[in-house]
Structure formats: structure tokens, C-alpha cells
Symmetry: none
Subunit: 201 residues, 4 copies
């Protein structure tokens, strides 16, 4: 039971942190505000996290862990690379939609942290990126996508496109239709962009 409460409090702090970071940005967020939001004393936070950076890192790691698990499951539904690209795009945007605050934090803070936090290596984010790379690789192996496609460039191009679109949506608070339409637009553009001549959908 102790471990249940443990997990409970830890989780409450992380959830509160996402909320507060989304609202103010990491640097303008106060530990005291996270504590208030999580309904714990500020000292309690330091029982679960080493410092403020550590909270953010754990937000990243655990959220991406969930996202990756979720995405892997989603992609399990088919083995058609073209369909998988579509599924990835839709799912990514859907995730952003369903976890708006988390999305804001990931999009805005990940770059910062990635660059300025010493000791932080964004393993999970790289893993997520490589899910995309794998899909394109399979497409090449099946003769559907061009052979001369650089996986490194392609995975980043797709991720960047998705990220920017999601960011726009998050910041402007457009309605949900926007994301669905954007998913279709982007999927088509990418699929045509990477298709072999005869594999064009």
C-alpha cells in the first residue's frame, strides 16, 4: 500500500508539472506552483525528484514511453508501409489532441532541454523517431518507396512537419477538424513524395 501511495504522489506531481509547464513554460514555472497543483508540500517533490530539471526529464521519459507503446500497438494493425505512414500521422496528431498540455510541453521544452541540459540524452525521443525510419525502410524493402530515400532526412522531415502542424494547432486552438484534415493532407503529400513511380498510391 505504501507503494501505491508512492506511485500516487509521484504521478500527481508529474501530472501537475505537465499542467504548470504547459501554462508557463519550464523556466517560468515555480516548484511551489507545481506543489500547490499537486496538493503536496513543496518539500515532498524532492522526495520523488532530484530537482526541477529532473521533473521535466521524467515528464519527457514517461510520456514518450507511453506514446511509443501506444504507437507500436496502433501500427500492429497492419503491415502495409503506406497504411502505416497514414496511421502514424493520424495517431501522432490524435495524441497531441488528446494530451494537449503534454503536447505543449513536449513541443516547446524538448528542444531547449535537448540542447541545454547536460547529462540528458533523449533516448526515448530518438526511439520514437526511429519508428518512422523503420516504416520507411520496410516500404523500401517492399519496393513501395524510393530506394534513394535517406531515412535520416525523411524521418526528421516527417517528424518536423507533424510537430509544426501540431504546434500551430496547440497554439491557435483551432477545432479538431483541422487536425483530421491536416493528417490527410500530410499523409498524401508524404506518400506521393516517397513513392516509387509504379508504387504511387
Amino acid at each position: 500500500m505504501s507503494s501505491i501511495r508512492q506511485g500516487d504522489k509521484r504521478f500527481r506531481i508529474l501530472r501537475a508539472a505537465v499542467k504548470v509547464f504547459a501554462k508557463n513554460g519550464f523556466h517560468n514555472s515555480r516548484i511551489s506552483e507545481i506543489a500547490r497543483e499537486a496538493e503536496v508540500a513543496s518539500g515532498t517533490i524532492y522526495l520523488y525528484f532530484r530537482n526541477k530539471d529532473d521533473i521535466l526529464i521524467n515528464v519527457f521519459e514517461e510520456s514518450l514511453d507511453d506514446i511509443i507503446r501506444d504507437m507500436e500497438k496502433e501500427l500492429g494493425a497492419t503491415d502495409d508501409p503506406r497504411l502505416r505512414v497514414k496511421l502514424f500521422i493520424r495517431r501522432h496528431l490524435k495524441l497531441m489532441k488528446e494530451h494537449r498540455e503534454l503536447a505543449e510541453v513536449l513541443q516547446v521544452e524538448l528542444r531547449q532541454s535537448y540542447k541545454f541540459m547536460k547529462e540528458y540524452e533523449p533516448k526515448h525521443w530518438i526511439k520514437y523517431l526511429n519508428i518512422i525510419a523503420r516504416i520507411f525502410k520496410e516500404g523500401q524493402e517492399k519496393g513501395l518507396f524510393r530506394e534513394d530515400l535517406s531515412l535520416g532526412v525523411t524521418k526528421r522531415a516527417l517528424f518536423g512537419a507533424l510537430d509544426e502542424i501540431a504546434l500551430h494547432w496547440v497554439l491557435t486552438k483551432k477545432d479538431e477538424k483541422y487536425l483530421d484534415a491536416a493528417a490527410e493532407q500530410l499523409a498524401r503529400m508524404v506518400l506521393e513524395g516517397v513513392a516509387t513511380r509504379n508504387g504511387s498510391s
Copy 2:
């Protein structure tokens, strides 16, 4: 002459700020360090800028102003939308290459700022984005790019892809060949992705 010296000092501060922000990130940069780097007293900075935020905003505005001017000129060389897409991509990445520190600041801080800085509306950045939109619009008008292309989605997708690729390059310090190759890859992918059936390059 006073105005020349004025401009001189103002410019030195902005240049110093880019350097310092690129090294430490905005929030971990000290006004005093910018002052040292610019070889002015820290009080002097407040003769030219309202506060620390204002320095960053001016870095954005003036840099993007230069970049936009530069890009407009570049694109003036042709009126073929397909070529213009290529030119845009190449030029953007080349700019990142030539102004590495500025690139680091733009990529890492712009998102933060336009989300969290009250009163800041990123007009210049929107203008830059719309250069892309215009190219695609012209392509549509000439029957080269698909009619059903959403300009809003497409411009963001391209910008996001470019930004992510440039970010990767900036952070990993790969050699310059990488950017050139990436430019070709991305250009081809986009052009095929947006082409009408018969307009495929």
C-alpha cells in the same frame, strides 16, 4: 555621427546577444554576459532595449527581416514554382549554415517566446512562412501543384521539416555535405508530394 555610434552600439549588443543566447539559451544567459561580450556596460543595454525579453524579440525581428529580404532576392531569380521550392529549401539551409549561432537561437527560442511572451506577435516569422505559401499558390495557379493542397498545412509542413533538419544539423555538428544532401532529398520529396499527375518533375 551620434546615430552611427548609436547604431554601432545597438548592433554590437544584438550580435553579442545572439552569441550568448546560442551558447546558454535565453533563460540561462545573463545581461552582464551580453554586456561583457558587447564591451559595453550593462546599464547601457537599457538605453537601447526595454528589458531582456526585448533584446530577444529584436534579435528575432531584425534577423528575420534580413532573412526575408535575402530570400525574396534569391527567389527573384526565377518564376518557376518548382525551382522556387528548391531554391527556398537550399537557401534556408544555407542560411542556417552561414549563421549558425543565429540558427540555434531561432530554432530553440522562437517557440518558447511566441508562446510565452505576452505582447509578442511574430509578424516576421509569419511573413517568412507566407513566402512558402505564395510559392505553392503560384504552383497551383500554373497547374503544377495539386489544387486540393492546403496552403496552411503545406507551408507548415515544409517549414517544420526544414527546421527539424537544420536543428539536427546544428546540434550534432555534422559536416556541411549533410545539409546539401538533405536539401536535395527534401526538395524532391516535396515536389513529388505536391505535384499534379502530369506536372510531376
Copy 3:
């Protein structure tokens, strides 16, 4: 049996406290470290002591109690005041030698504490000092030590000298020969210093 275990835990805490205080100094020592060292929970400490100050006071009181008992026994071996001075000096330094950590705590923290701890009156320490005074008094009564000797000054002078010598030894970690030699030096100096003309040893 409960009281035996009681005493056991209490004693373990005090022993741990001596060790931790000696290593870090009172103010830089953590209750949690004492608890860890004593292998009890930190809350348990508060079953035996009122607060952190109380632990230190009890270290003083009980250590000095032991030391006084030990010293009384030692001095019982003779009733020659000159010999007793020698025995006192030797024994004091030997005690420091045998209880090095305790010595460090007494020498460094005692001054602090009896100046700044409200409510703390160093009864035991005064008692120890008065053992010295008594020896000198006996020497005067037997016509061996000068009549004009101020006992208050003399007891403090001898204690101060011993304390400084022991402190030096503790801090510089010289070998044990040093303490033996110092004991002889100091004993001779004091005895000649306090002797009546004809009573000079």
C-alpha cells in the same frame, strides 16, 4: 528487557552522533545521517532525545561523566599533588588519544554550545575543571604550590593548554609519541611554574 533494549538504542544513537559530529561538525550533521549510522529510523531518535541540540548536550554530559569517573579513579592512586598534576595531564591526553572522535567533538563543539545554547549549563565540564582546581588547592595546603596562585586562573590555564595541545594532535593526526612527549613537557612546565621555591621538583 525493554529497558535494556531502550538503553541499547539510546546508546547506539549517541555513539553514532559522536561519529557523525566528529566527521562533519554539529551544524553540518544531519539527523538522518545519525539515524542511518545508528541503524534506526530518524523518528526513533525523537523517542530518546528532544531535538538535535539535546543529542549534543547528552553527548557532552555522558562523555564527561565517564571521563570524570575515570579521572577520579586514576587520581586515587596517589595523594601527592605534584604526581597528581602529572597524572591528570597524562590521563587527559591519553583519553583524547583513545576516544579521538569524542575528543574532536568536545574540543570543537563545546565552546559553541555553551555559548549559544540557551538553557545549557555545562555542569559536568565545570566539575571536570574543578578536579584540577582541587589538586592545586591540595598542593597549596601542603606547602608545595605557591600560596598566591589563583585557582581560577590556574585551572583554566592548564585546561586551555591541554585542550590546545590535544586539538593540534587531533587535527594534524600526528603519531602518539607526540602526545606522550607533550605530556612530559607540559607537566614539567606547570610544576615548575606553580612550585614554591623550596618545593620545586
Copy 4:
């Protein structure tokens, strides 16, 4: 003039620190209280000192510097080692009398710091101690003090005696007569204690 004000503020902070440390002890003193006492903002303290430890170290260094200079001058009045011992004792106690707060800080905090402050080497204190050693050495050279006297032990014994006596005076707030009488007592005891047979005063 800038340097005059500089020195002024720095000195005010040091003087305030002595007062506050004497009242509360180093660890129970607050930077904010020193600032209030010195009538500067707390941030100003950090323009002159690296941190709280640094203030204490500078109190030590500069006070001892003054004391050493003062003592050297005092001892210049004679070259009789026996007289010099007397002068040293009197002067030391007089100094404690005249700078009561400083005396409290030196006596109570020096030991702590000496032991627990990494990087702090009490050069000045050692120098002071060696003034005593030099007097005894001269006494030996002139055949006045015993040849077998260990200078290391003797200097520490005398310093320890003086320190303890002064501490008692400082803490009990006895009147000034006490110190004068104690000086005579101690001087006689030491001189007889170290004299050669024929050199006994």
C-alpha cells in the same frame, strides 16, 4: 573616491559580521541580519564576498593581520625575552578586552572553521602562534629558558591558556580587573615554568 566608498562598504560589512557572529554564532547568523546591521542590501554583500564562509574567513584574516601588526609593534619595545612573554600575555588579553566581539568570534568560530572549512588554511593564526615560539627561542638562545623546551608544545600551551582565560572572561563578563590579575598570574607561572635554574625570575 570609488575606492574609498568600496573600502567603506566592505569594512562596514565586516564590522557588522563580527557583531552578528558574536551575538549568534556563525551558523545561527543570517546574511540578512548582517546586511541590516551594515545598512546595505543583502545582494551588496555578494559584491564584496563570495559567500557566507568567505565573510568569516575575511574576518579572521584581517583581524589577525591587525593583531599581529599590533603585537609586533608592542614587542619592539624590548628585547628581553622574559619581558616579552609578559608583554605578549598582557597585550593579548588587552586586545580581547578592547575587541570583545571580535574575541568572541575568534575564540568560538576559529576552531570550527579551521577544521571544517575545506580550502581554508589559517596562515595568519599560525603566524601569530609563531610569534610566541620566537620569543621562547630567543630566551633559549640567551640562556634564560630551558634548552629542552619544545617550542611547539610551549607555544600551544601558552596560547591555549590565554585563549581559555579570555574565553572565560568574555563569556562571564567579569570586570576588567580580572584580566589584569590573570595576566600577572599567567606570566609568572609561565616564566617560572620555563626558566633555567639560575635564570628564574
